[in-house]
Structure formats: structure tokens, C-alpha cells
């Protein structure tokens, strides 16, 4: 029997190849996800290893108690440096001064991006900087810049660059050198660096104090890192801390691992979705292949093979195919993982090189899942095949469609249970928020599974409806009929696309709803027409000179101009957003806030206003006192609560006297609100404000739309990220549709031969198959869009209490998905259509 199986497999290469493709794909995705995750982790670890490379012990300032990453920091004092330099067993010392600064590019705007702009001291040898052009900075008005800076800022050798930090005003520097990094890299992880003399770097970073961000020590020969650590620990005082380089790396890598693990889960999620979709493909392909072999199986049964032998023969074939395909898949996946690692490393991390890591789990998981999925997928069709009486299968009568009652009934029940769960959850039937949320979430998941099961039932009416689009040609009509011919097959094929489209539509809908809810709250509340603000991505928060506000108020058509200062302060030991302004009542007015108790005028010198939610959070009311320490503040201030504001997205937080602005992280205003008078020309006012801001490189004037789009920019990135998910689902879907169509074409050879014999042209044949393909793909996309919209709507409803009170449909995205589905259908049709049009008429109609 095994011999017959092997011979049979050899004789059906085309079908075999298609089945394997689905398995290969599933295994490859798993392997690629695992390899990519592991490799990114190694690469990031290597990248971390670049900092203070070669040193043994690191001395760093003790992290200040006030959390948050952007404090004005203290460093390791110079006398500590001198003390450790002189210690026994120290061979070499390098002192680093580095922190974020803002630099102004050739357009006069602050350089901003996801990677920071850093000031460093050129004298620091702990990083391998390699001078490419010019020379090192020798005086305090000179700077050497990284090649990445040249690319980003459009400035180079011989130009001047303006830079400033939290502690310095704008200063102009001559660019005297351009440097890169070991391994011919332009940057480390994409960051832009400006290298100054140590004194100038200290002026930028530590406000001129003789301090260092870190001191890296190399142990003398014969001294171990641990010995060196013990030697210097007593020398460094309370404000500094020391650790071995290994311990530092461990800590840094562990911190980085939190991010890389997230990426890993994300990728594995991709992989699992691909496998989930592949299961559909594999099961579908096996069912079709076995259906096509019923005659052969019947013949085997007729000449005496038992049912068990038939099942074993099919399973043996599945096992062999699964093994070969998943090994190929694992290999391809590892290769893809390696390729992707290089791409990620070069384009996102800018490492110049990457470390490929192939965890043992990658091939094991890929091959294990591949074989298991194949064999399990083949089991049901194998059992079904063995149950067919030999005589029946040998008759070549037209076969009636298999009933789809079981999946339909199951799907209806699962969907109903899911809808009930959602309804109960959304109507707060369980009494506890957590149970309600859980019920709604499980319900949403069940609806997803239920609809997947219902696809076969839905396919009849929906496919024939969608097919109407192409029914104006006869070939199109035939294609439409073919698409609804086998609901089970169409459904499973379309499900591959449906799953992906559902996920992206649901997330897209949710994000659009969030964005719209924010926007309408914003529109409802905010009175100011114009905002003066800078990019959120600048390294040092964008600020401007408060004197500009006085000039603004003089502009014709300006009713009011309010400056706003932000800080992340400690209030009663918790981190809180604090605002101030030279016009405190003005903020509330411009932001459409509402006072529940007291008035903003009562704040005076030591009063504080707070929104209701934050007050309740800290358990304070009017008349109570709180202790507030601002970012740059050295001591706590006792403030008395004088007013309570109603909760409102825009006015939430604490409000203090403007006299504390100098203790804020940025002592200048971060935001200006300009209220344009009724009837005044907004464009003219905008133009005047722009002129007044000509000397403020960090900020620009924005209208509502521009300001909002800046606030919601991260949602846009999230939307782009989920499009990648769609891309993946589409690749799988294309292969799924190709698979089904080629098998259908093989199955319908006789029919195609007849059509060609009675006069159907090749072009018509191609059109017929293309319509079938596009219809199936579009069916999957329509189902996915429908399910995704419902799921997105459910989540939005669940979030109404969190302020997401508007439902918005991402129409452009959905139109894009449908267009993409048509493209998928067209691409998938190419090979099967060509094959169908080249059917050998004689071979097809000849009597067997």
C-alpha cells in the first residue's frame, strides 16, 4: 500500500506542490517569526554593547527619586572622577557627557524625529567615533557632527549650526568635523550626535557644572572587574553608583528585552495568524485533492484494500508531505527571518550589521506544527473517502453538493452566544466592570469564530450578489456561477482573506472612532482658533519666548492670547501634570473648562486648582494642602487647593502660580492659545502670528486641524502598522485562491474542454476564471469588512465611558481593502486562468 501511495504521489506532482505550498507557508511564518525575534534581540544586545565597550566598571550618577526620563540631571562630580582615576588597578578612564539637545536644521526648524538629537563630549573614548572629514572640536564654539546629522539637517562641514539645551540659550557653532562609527555606520540606532568640547558639552548638559553622565573604567592587567569595583566603591560618594560593565549590560539588555519581547509577541501573533489561515488552506487543499481521487480510492477498495488501509494511505501521504513541506518551510522561514533581520537592523536600528540567531525552537516549532497541521487536516477527508462504497465512487455521475448544515448550525449557535455575551457585557449585566468587559470580549471572539463557520452559508447569496458586478459578459456570468458552485470551498478560500481583513478593519474602525471622538471633544471645548506649538518629537520640548505673547495681543483681530507651561511634577509623592500661565482664568476659558468650586483667581501665590478626578484620586478637596515638587525644583512647596475643575480632556491636571514656571522642566511656555475675534480674517491673523514667530525656531502656528493631527499622529502610525498585517494576510490569501482555483480548474478539465469545443475563446476562458477569483476574494473582503466593523463598533461601545463616544467608519481604508481584494483576485487568477485557457480540448473530452 505504501508503494502505491508513493507512486500515486509521484504521479500527481502539481496537486502535491499546491498542497505543500500551504504547509510550507505556515511553517515558514512560524520559523521566520521566531528567528526574527531572537535575532533582533541579539542585534539590540550587540548594539547596547557598543556603549562603554571595552570598559570593566561604570560609574553613574544615582537616579534621582523623581521619576520620568526628562529631568535635568546631575552627573558624576569631577572630584569623583579624579578619585577613581587615581585608584589602584585602573588602567584607563573615559568620561562621558551626553544628553538631549535641540539643533536647528537648514530650514530654520528644530530637528525632530523618533531618534533623539544628542550632545556628546568629543573627548569621550568609550564610543568608537571615527572622524571622516575635518577635525575634532578644539574650542567651545566648534562642533563635530555625526554623518546622520548631515543627512537629517542638511548641514555639513563649513556650515554653522544653532543648538540649545534646557539650560542654555541658542548658540551658534562652526561645524569643523563629520564623524561616523566603527563598522562604517552613520549613527548608533539612528540617533543624531553633535560632539562638543567637554567644557561646552557640560555647559549644555549640566548647566556648566563640572560633571559627567558616566565614567567608564578599564581595569589594569591582572585586576578583575569585580576587584576594581570593590576598590572604587568606597571612593565615589553618595551621589554616584558603580557597577561592572557586565552588570550594566545585563540591566540594559533586560530593559531592551521588554521592547524586543513586545516585538516578538507581535511577530509571533503574525505567525500564528498565518498558521491559522494556512490550516484552512491545507484542509481545503486536501479535501479537494482527495475528492479528485475518489475513483482511484474506489478502485483500491474494489481490488481489496480495507478502509483502514485507505485511511492509512492518505495519512501516510499527509505525513510525508507534511514532513517534506515543513522542513522546506522551516528552512525558508529561517532564511526569511535572516533577511528580515538585516532589513530591520539596517533600516530601523541602523546597526550596520546584524547578528543572526536561530533558536532551536524555530525549526522544531515550524516542523512540528507543519506536520501536525497537515496530518490533522487530512484526517477528516481521509475518513470520509474511506466511507464511500467502491461502486458509487466509480460511477461518474454528477455529484450533488455536500450539505453545509453542520457548520451553519454550529456557526449560528456560536454567533448567537457571542452576541448575547456582548449584549450582556455592554449593558453591565454582571455587576462588575471586569466581568462585563470579559463577557463582551469573549462574545466578540465568538462572533468572529461564528461568522467564520457561517461563511459557507453566507457564500451562496453574497457571492451571487457580488458576482452580479461582472455578469454583463457571459464569461463573467459563468465565473460567478462557478464561484458559488461549492460553498464550502469558496468559504474556506475566502476565510483566509476574511480573517486578515476583519482584524485590520476592526482596529482601523476603533482607531478612527478614537480619533473622531477626540477631535469632536476638541472642537466642542476649545475656543482658541490658533495654537503656537512645536513638534512632539523634538528632543528638548519646544518652547518660545513668553514676550511674544505681548506682541500677539497687539495683533488686529486677536481677542486673547494665553501662554501655557507644562510640567510633570511630584504632588504628594505621585506624578501629576501641572500647568501654569500668566493668565490662569484664560486657560480655562480657552479650553472650555468649567469650575465646580472656587475660582482660578484664588490661586494667587500658593493656591492650586485641580480637576475633579485628580482631586478624588489624591483624596483632596478645597482647603486641603498638597506638597508639590517641580522637575527642576529643589524643595517641596506647600500649596492649598482653592478650586476644583470639572473633568475635561483639555483642562485636566493641576494649575499653579506662574511664579513656579522657573522650576518647571522647561521654564518657557510650551503652548500658546490665540483666540481670534469674531469676524476677523483668520488667515490674515495666522500670517501675522507667523511673522512674529520668525525668531522662534522650535514652534509654529497651527490651526485646529494641524494641531489635532499632531496629537493623533501616533494613531496614524498604528494604522500603518496594522496595514502590514493586512499585507501578510493578502500574501496568504493570494496563495489560497491560486490553490483553490488551480484545483478547480484541474477538476473541471472536461467542462473546460467542452466549452472550448463548442466555441468558447481563450479570452473568454481567462475572463471566466478571473471573475471567479475576484468574486471569491471580494467575498472574503466584504465579510471581513462587515465583521471588522461590527467588532470595532462593539469595542467602541465598550469604551464609551472612557470618552470614546463616537463611532467612525474608516471609509478610505475600507475602500482600500476592497480594492486590494480585487487586486488579490486578479493576481491569483493569472496562473489558473492561463492553465484553463490552455486545456487540451481533445484530452479533456476524450472518453476515459
Amino acid at each position: 500500500m505504501l508503494r502505491a501511495t508513493l507512486k500515486g504521489m509521484a504521479a500527481r506532482k502539481a496537486r502535491l506542490a499546491l498542497t505543500s505550498l500551504a504547509v510550507v507557508l505556515g511553517s515558514a511564518f512560524i520559523a521566520a517569526a521566531l528567528v526574527l525575534t531572537a535575532s533582533i534581540k541579539t542585534t539590540v544586545d550587540d548594539l547596547n554593547g557598543d556603549s562603554y565597550a571595552g570598559s570593566d566598571v561604570l560609574v553613574q550618577p544615582v537616579e534621582p527619586e523623581t521619576a520620568g526620563e526628562r529631568h535635568v540631571r546631575d552627573g558624576v562630580p569631577a572630584d569623583t572622577l579624579a578619585a577613581v582615576e587615581a585608584a589602584d588597578g585602573v588602567a584607563d578612564v573615559s568620561a562621558t557627557v551626553t544628553w538631549m539637545v535641540n539643533a536647528i536644521d537648514d530650514n530654520g526648524k528644530v530637528l525632530g524625529g523618533f531618534a533623539p538629537t544628542m550632545a556628546v563630549n568629543w573627548g569621550d573614548e568609550s564610543v568608537d567615533r571615527e572622524l571622516r572629514e575635518g577635525r575634532a572640536p578644539e574650542s567651545d564654539d566648534e562642533v563635530a557632527v555625526s554623518a546622520q546629522f548631515v543627512a537629517d539637517a542638511g548641514l555639513g562641514l563649513g556650515d554653522t549650526v544653532t543648538a540649545y539645551s534646557l539650560s542654555t540659550d541658542e548658540t551658534v557653532y562652526d561645524i569643523v568635523g563629520v564623524f561616523g562609527y566603527s563598522g562604517d555606520r552613520d549613527s548608533l540606532a539612528g540617533a543624531t550626535e553633535l560632539a562638543f568640547t567637554t567644557v561646552e558639552a557640560q555647559r549644555l548638559v549640566f548647566d556648566g557644572r563640572d560633571m559627567y553622565t558616566a565614567v567608564a573604567l578599564t581595569a589594569a592587567e591582572g585586576t578583575s572587574a569585580e576587584e576594581l569595583l570593590r576598590t572604587i566603591e568606597p571612593l565615589i560618594g553618595d551621589e554616584s553608583t558603580a557597577m561592572t560593565w557586565d552588570a550594566y549590560m545585563e540591566e540594559t539588555n533586560a530593559r531592551a528585552a521588554q521592547t524586543t519581547n513586545l516585538i516578538g509577541y507581535f511577530l509571533l501573533g503574525f505567525g500564528l495568524i498565518a498558521v491559522f489561515v494556512s490550516v484552512f488552506l491545507i484542509a481545503n487543499t486536501f479535501t479537494i485533492v482527495i475528492a479528485g481521487r475518489l475513483k482511484e480510492i474506489a478502485m483500491m477498495r474494489a481490488i481489496g484494500a480495507s478502509r483502514g488501509q485507505v485511511i492509512r494511505s492518505v495519512l501516510a501521504e499527509a505525513l510525508l508531505l507534511g514532513a517534506v513541506a515543513s522542513v522546506v518551510g522551516a528552512a525558508l522561514g529561517i532564511a526569511a527571518g535572516a533577511g528580515l533581520t538585516t532589513v530591520v537592523a539596517n533600516s530601523f536600528l541602523d546597526t550596520g550589521g546584524s547578528s543572526l540567531t536561530v533558536p532551536v525552537s524555530a525549526p522544531i516549532a515550524a516542523i512540528g506544527v507543519g506536520i501536525a497541521v497537515t496530518v490533522l487536516s487530512a484526517l477528516a477527508p481521509a475518513v470520509r473517502a474511506s466511507r464511500i462504497p467502491p461502486v458509487e465512487a466509480m460511477r461518474s455521475a454528477a455529484k450533488a453538493d455536500k450539505p453545509i448544515t453542520v457548520p451553519t448550525v454550529a456557526g449560528a449557535i456560536v454567533t448567537a452566544v457571542g452576541v448575547t455575551g456582548i449584549a450582556l457585557g455592554l449593558t453591565d449585566s454582571f455587576g462588575s466592570d471586569r466581568t462585563d468587559m470579559l463577557a463582551a470580549a469573549v462574545g466578540a471572539g465568538l462572533v468572529f469564530v461564528g461568522v467564520s463557520l457561517l461563511t459557507a452559508w453566507l457564500s451562496k447569496p453574497l457571492v451571487s450578489l457580488l458576482g452580479l458586478l461582472w455578469s454583463w459578459t457571459f464569461a463573467g456570468k459563468l465565473g460567478r456561477r462557478n464561484a458559488s458552485r461549492n460553498p464550502r470551498r469558496t468559504a474556506v478560500t475566502a476565510a483566509a482573506l476574511m480573517i486578515g481583513v476583519t482584524l485590520v478593519t476592526a482596529t482601523g474602525t476603533l482607531l478612527t472612532s478614537v480619533e473622531k471622538s477626540l477631535a469632536s471633544q476638541f472642537e466642542d471645548n476649545i475656543r482658541a482658533e490658533l495654537f503656537i506649538t512645536g513638534p512632539v518629537t523634538s528632543s528638548v520640548p519646544a518652547t518660545f519666548d513668553p514676550e511674544v505673547m505681548d506682541d500677539l495681543r497687539e495683533v488686529d483681530g486677536v481677542d486673547a492670547a494665553v501662554d501655557v507651561y507644562y510640567d510633570l511634577a511630584q504632588i504628594d509623592g505621585t506624578e501629576q501634570y501641572v500647568n501654569t500661565s500668566s493668565d490662569l482664568p484664560g486657560i480655562v476659558e480657552q479650553f472650555g473648562g468649567e469650575l465646580l468650586e472656587g475660582s482660578m483667581g484664588d490661586i494667587g501665590e500658593d493656591g492650586v486648582a485641580v480637576n475633579e478626578w485628580s482631586a478624588n484620586d489624591l483624596g483632596v478637596g478645597v482647603g486641603d494642602t498638597v506638597e508639590a515638587t517641580f522637575t527642576r525644583g529643589t524643595e517641596a512647596h506647600e500649596l492649598t487647593v482653592v478650586a476644583i475643575l470639572a473633568d475635561n480632556e483639555e483642562t485636566d491636571g493641576w494649575y499653579v502660580s506662574p511664579k513656579y514656571a522657573e522650576e518647571f522642566y522647561t521654564p518657557e511656555p510650551n503652548l500658546g492659545l490665540v483666540d481670534v475675534a469674531e469676524g476677523a480674517d483668520v488667515d490674515a491673523v495666522t500670517a501675522e502670528v507667523e511673522t512674529l514667530l520668525a525668531d522662534e525656531p522650535a514652534v509654529s502656528v497651527q490651526n485646529h486641524e494641524e494641531y489635532l493631527s499632531q496629537l493623533t499622529v501616533f494613531f496614524d502610525y498604528a494604522v500603518i502598522a496594522i496595514q502590514l498585517l493586512l499585507g501578510l494576510a493578502m500574501v496568504v490569501a493570494v496563495i489560497g485562491v491560486i490553490n483553490t482555483l488551480i484545483l478547480s480548474v484541474l477538476e473541471r478539465t472536461r467542462e473546460l474542454g467542452m466549452l472550448r469545443a463548442i466555441g468558447m475563446t481563450r479570452g473568454q476562458t481567462v475572463r471566466m476564471v478571473t471573475v471567479e477569483s475576484v468574486t471569491i476574494a471580494l467575498f472574503g473582503a466584504v465579510l471581513g469588512v462587515g465583521t471588522g466593523l461590527v467588532l470595532g463598533w462593539i469595542v467602541q461601545l465598550a469604551l464609551v465611558d472612557s470618552g470614546i463616544d463616537e463611532f467612525a467608519v474608516p471609509t478610505a481604508l475600507i475602500a482600500g481593502y476592497l480594492a486590494a481584494a480585487v487586486l488579490v483576485g486578479l493576481l491569483a487568477a493569472i496562473a489558473p486562468a492561463v492553465r484553463a485557457s490552455k486545456v487540451n480540448i481533445l484530452g479533456a473530452i476524450a472518453y476515459e
Binding site: K399, M754, A757, I758, G759, M760, Y847
Partner: protein, 261 residues
């Protein structure tokens, strides 16, 4: 157009003619010559059967006549059109407009109803079949109450009747039937053959049928016998008995025929 008076040709014209056909498959030692210098003409408005043992070349001959297979040498005419040398497009158009097919396996499209199957060739051509004519064909074949059925809901005999109607619906110059009764029981066979006979007598249809069943051949006006790729006998006004006799006769003579080639 008067439906009741089909054009009965005053002089015998030929619907299909073949002259000097050669067709070989494979090459070298494995070469099989399927047709050896076959010349034959099929009269318009006549029912001709092609008979012969397995491997005699009767199917190859039909395929070459119908523009489904190419010939190595010789020419085929359907009406005024010379098939030889035509490209795929022209051949497809010719099959669509001038030829009807009836297959042993019925070959109906399972997605279409009986009526849609009947109108299939016209639909493919993007044309409209003459409704009066189609109705008459459907009535003759007794399919009126089966029109909305799918092929899976029809018996074998009914399916083949639908296939016959499909072949005739466009009033082709010639209908080629390839073992049309091969998959049918005796009664259904008789119905189908009776209809083919009727379509020749009443509508003046030209039919060329390949069969190996002497009683089916007896429905024809003329039987052409093929053996080893050559025409060996030509029998007019056949009966089942005369067909069997002729076959027995030339089967004994086959070795001679082989040597004569």
C-alpha cells in the same frame, strides 16, 4: 422565415469534405498512424455514421473534421470554409458558429439550468438564439417541463437530450456526435437516436455520428467503416443486420486491407 419548410436541398451538396487526410501521433518506433489518406464527403441534410473497431481512427477522423485536431496532410472543408491552416481563434469561432457537438459524457455545465445549457453556444457568441427555433427543438425533444432543472436533477437520457438541443440550437452546418448513446440505457438510446433521425428528416440537419453500436448505426442514412486509419466500406441505407454483416465481412478482410496500404 417559414419554420415548417426546412430547406430540402434540390441537389446533394456536401456539408463536410475531407481529402487526403493523414494524421500520425508520436514518432519513430512508437509512431501510430491514425489516419492514412482518408478522403470522404458528408452530404448536407444526411445522417452519416462512422464505425470501426477500437483504434480504427474513427474518433481521430471526427476530431479532424470538427477542427478539434490538426491534420498532417490533406484538407477539410466545412461548407465553404477550409479548416486546414486556420488558427485557434478562427477555429474556435468556426466551432461556435458552424458546428454542434454531442458527447458521450453529455458534458453539460452543472452550474447552468437545462435551458441555459441549451443556449450556451449562443451565449458564448454573445448572440441571441432564434427563440422560435429553440422552442421547436425543445418541444421536439420533450424538454419543456425540464428547462429550469440543473443537470444533477436530470436522468442520463434527459441530460443527453439537453445536449442534443444545445447542439442544434444554433442551427449549425453540421452536428458531430461522439458515441452519443455510449452512456445510455436502451430506451434512452432509442429516444436520442430517434431524435437525431427526426432532426435530419424534419429540419434537414446534417449529422455525423461516431459509434460502435450497429443498432445505433442503423438509424443513419449511410455508414462509413474505418479500419487501421482507412475507409474500408461505405454502406448506404443500413440496417442493424447489414451493419453487423459488413463488419464481420471486413474484419476478416482486414489483413488484406493492411497489406494494401
Amino acid at each position: 422565415m417559414p419554420l415548417a419548410t426546412p430547406p430540402a436541398p434540390p441537389i446533394v451538396r456536401n456539408a463536410v469534405t475531407a481529402s487526403g487526410l493523414w494524421r500520425a501521433y508520436g514518432s519513430g518506433e512508437a509512431q501510430v498512424v491514425a489516419l492514412r489518406d482518408v478522403s470522404v464527403a458528408f452530404a448536407s441534410g444526411a445522417f452519416t455514421a462512422i464505425m470501426g473497431p477500437s483504434g480504427s481512427g474513427k474518433s481521430t477522423l471526427m476530431h479532424c473534421l470538427a477542427g478539434l485536431d490538426t491534420t498532417d496532410r490533406g484538407t477539410v472543408n466545412i461548407g465553404d470554409t477550409v479548416l486546414t491552416g486556420l488558427g485557434d481563434k478562427a477555429l474556435t469561432k468556426l466551432r461556435r458558429d458552424k458546428i454542434g457537438f454531442i458527447f458521450q459524457q453529455f458534458n453539460l455545465l452543472p452550474t447552468l439550468t437545462a435551458e441555459e445549457n441549451i443556449l450556451l453556444p449562443a451565449s458564448i457568441a454573445g448572440a441571441k438564439a432564434d427563440p422560435a427555433w429553440v422552442n421547436r427543438v425543445i418541444a421536439t425533444l420533450d424538454l419543456s417541463d425540464r428547462l429550469s432543472h440543473k443537470p444533477t436533477e436530470l436522468s442520463g437520457g434527459q441530460q443527453q437530450r439537453v445536449a442534443c438541443a444545445r447542439a442544434l440550437a444554433t442551427r449549425p452546418d453540421v452536428v458531430f456526435a461522439d458515441e452519443p448513446t455510449g452512456n445510455l440505457d436502451t430506451r434512452s438510446s432509442a429516444e436520442v437516436l430517434g431524435f437525431l433521425r427526426k432532426s435530419v428528416d424534419d429540419f434537414g440537419q446534417t449529422i455525423v455520428m461516431v459509434t460502435h453500436d450497429p443498432s445505433a448505426a442503423a438509424y443513419a442514412d449511410r455508414v462509413v467503416f474505418l479500419a487501421d486509419g482507412q475507409i474500408v466500406r461505405d454502406l448506404h441505407g443500413p440496417t442493424a443486420d447489414s451493419v453487423i454483416d459488413t463488419m464481420r465481412d471486413f474484419e476478416n478482410a482486414v489483413p488484406l486491407a493492411g497489406k494494401a496500404a
